[in-house]
């Protein structure tokens, strides 16, 4: 099996070499004339205002967390999917399906909860956040 993954390693090395050759070639062919204006962060021609590492929407964290739960779930579903047909042929189909149905149901309840709480809304009105606090 390692033989197969050696190919993946070789492709990654190949990609690395490809990028490196391009960048080195480009380094020797280009002229570099740095100036203060060029090195400024691009903000549509205006002088940059404030720190770049701005505060961003907490939605991103929430989405990442929900994603994590569902992704782990998919990892659990894959082995079941691979053997499902064999289980049906062995006569255990309804049991296998029932167990996975319960598993998916639990996670769908989770999705429904997040949905009902309004965490799937990208834009939340100030009112709804305040209602939640009280």
């Amino acid at each position: 099996m390692l033989f197969n993954f050696a190919n993946v390693l070789l492709i990654l090395i190949g990609g690395f070499v490809f990028v490196a050759i391009n960048l080195i070639l480009s380094r020797f062919l280009q002229t570099r004339l740095p100036s203060i204006e060029k090195e400024m962060p691009y903000e549509c021609g205006e002088e940059p205002i404030g720190d770049t590492r701005i505060k961003f929407n907490t939605r991103f964290y929430v989405i990442a967390l929900i994603f994590l739960i569902f992704d782990v779930e998919i990892v659990f579903l894959f082995p079941w999917g691979v053997v499902f047909r064999k289980l049906i042929e062995d006569g255990a189909g309804i049991l296998a399906f029932g167990e996975m149905f319960v598993f998916i149901l639990i996670l769908l309840v989770g999705l429904a909860y997040v949905w009902a709480k309004g965490d799937l809304e990208w834009i939340r009105s100030i009112q709804s956040v305040q209602e939640e606090k009280t």
């Binding site: 993946v8 492709i11 690395f16 070499v17 480009s26 280009q30 903000e43 894959f78």
Partner: protein, 419 residues
């Protein structure tokens, strides 16, 4: 040295069924090596096979960028690039050379190491997705050689894993650039890509339940019975799964109508705002290579891979057939890009979390129930027949609705003649 390479095992171990990867074909057709290299002939064959892919994949964007410009031109009633070469076919090459000569700036206040590392990660891992895609096959003697770098037994799972590493590269690029546009663009891009990974994974799962293998060549082998054996037609739910997969794939590669990370009107150019010259070109290569990869995966999983339309007869089969089907899907993506306007962020997230994910869960349960009722063997006429009937009726009803809507809107917009 030999022992060191010995841990990789042997080529004969990796044959799945009767098919061998590209390295095996190279060993077969290339002339024998000089004596002092014979020990390493398998390793050299592997390196050559990988070298071919590393060489060919960056050429795909050269074609696709030109195709995109030509398609957009024809949709908008223009001619597109016409000056460089006949009908402008050398335009992308000229652009590439131009970018090679351009100064690439590295923002001095950003994180210089991450800024340099990001293109490496994005290009390497979009190349890595091509490892497990079977592009075609050739029969030599009684052996079948598949054009695949490595016939991984967890093929499709590996592709899912590798394609999500690209998100890390995008976040790196955005964070290191020290620009607000880049930061916001990369965060949006990451949120979008991870969200749409779930519908992708779930639609792949509904295929896996039918074929019960994760091996990409194994999936293609089960579709060798002609058009009706393609996995898209096996159950009515895999028909839905194909569309869920394709919509999510468009979002995964950040294309219109889901190209919010690069929305010019609000974020300039998204995560690669600060990149210029060759580094920018590398992002472009990765983007178009990804686009080709997701279409190739869609073809492999749902549209028969390199298998032809009719059993035994090689129409639309083999390497040319595979490339044709993939390029057709790529064309559909371009068509969508130049037809639909961009979504808003909240619409984008709603579509994923409130429509696609519940629909794909429903799909999985549907496939399960279908297999329980109509038997586990979906190639059996007892299961395939009802499936085809349901799909045909559903498509018919859908088309009827669509055309009803079209003629209805036309009637509304027609000005009433005043008498």
């Amino acid at each position: 040295m030999r022992q060191f390479f010995g841990i990789f095992g042997n080529l004969s171990e990796v044959t799945v069924g009767s098919s061998k990867p590209l390295a095996g074909l190279l060993l077969e057709i290339l002339p024998p090596l000089p004596a002092f290299l014979e020990e390493y002939e398998q390793l050299l064959a592997m390196i050559t096979a990988c070298g071919i892919f590393v060489g060919v994949v960056p050429l795909i964007p050269l074609v696709l960028v030109l195709a995109e410009r030509k398609v957009s031109a024809f949709i908008q009633d223009r001619t597109g690039p016409m000056r460089v070469g006949p009908w402008g076919i050398l335009q992308t090459l000229a652009d590439g050379v131009k970018l090679l000569f351009k100064e690439d700036l590295i923002p001095p206040y950003g994180d210089r190491v991450l800024f340099r590392l990001a293109p490496y990660i994005i290009v390497c891992f979009s190349l890595a997705a091509f490892v497990a895609i079977p592009f075609g096959a050739i029969d030599l003697g009684d052996e079948r050689y598949v054009f695949i770098v490595s016939n991984l037994n967890i093929g499709i799972f590996y592709i899912l894993a590798v394609s999500s590493v690209i998100v890390i590269g995008i976040i790196m690029a955005g964070w290191a650039s020290n620009s607000k546009w880049s930061l916001l663009g990369s965060l949006r891009s990451a949120a979008q890509m991870v969200s749409y990974e779930i519908p992708v994974g779930l639609s792949i799962l509904s295929v896996i339940m039918v074929v019960q293998t994760l091996n990409m060549q194994g999936i293609v082998d089960q579709q060798d019975g002609g058009l009706h054996s393609w996995l898209i037609f096996r159950t009515p739910f895999s028909f839905i799964a194909f569309f869920v997969f394709f919509i999510s794939a468009i979002a995964e590669v950040n294309r219109t109508p889901f190209d919010l990370p690069e929305a010019e009107s609000e974020l300039v150019a998204g995560f690669h705002t600060e990149y210029s010259g060759m580094r920018f070109a590398l992002f472009f290569i990765a983007e178009y290579a990804n686009m080709f990869a997701v279409c190739a995966i869609a073809v492999t999983l749902f549209l028969g891979g390199w298998q032809g339309v009719l059993p035994g007869i090689d129409i639309l089969g083999g390497l040319p057939g595979f490339v044709f089907k993939t390029l057709f899907l790529v064309f559909v993506m371009m068509w969508i890009r130049w037809t639909l306007p961009r979504l808003r962020v909240d619409q984008l997230m709603n579509l994923c979390w409130k429509y696609l994910i519940p629909v794909s869960f429903f799909n999985i349960l549907g496939v399960g129930i279908w297999m329980l009722i109509f038997g586990a063997d979906t190639m059996d006429m007892k299961s395939l027949g009802p499936s085809l009937v349901v799909i045909v009726i559903a498509v018919f009803i859908l088309l009827k609705q669509v055309f009803k809507g079209v003629s209805g809107t036309k009637r509304e917009t027609t000005p009433v003649p005043s008498s």
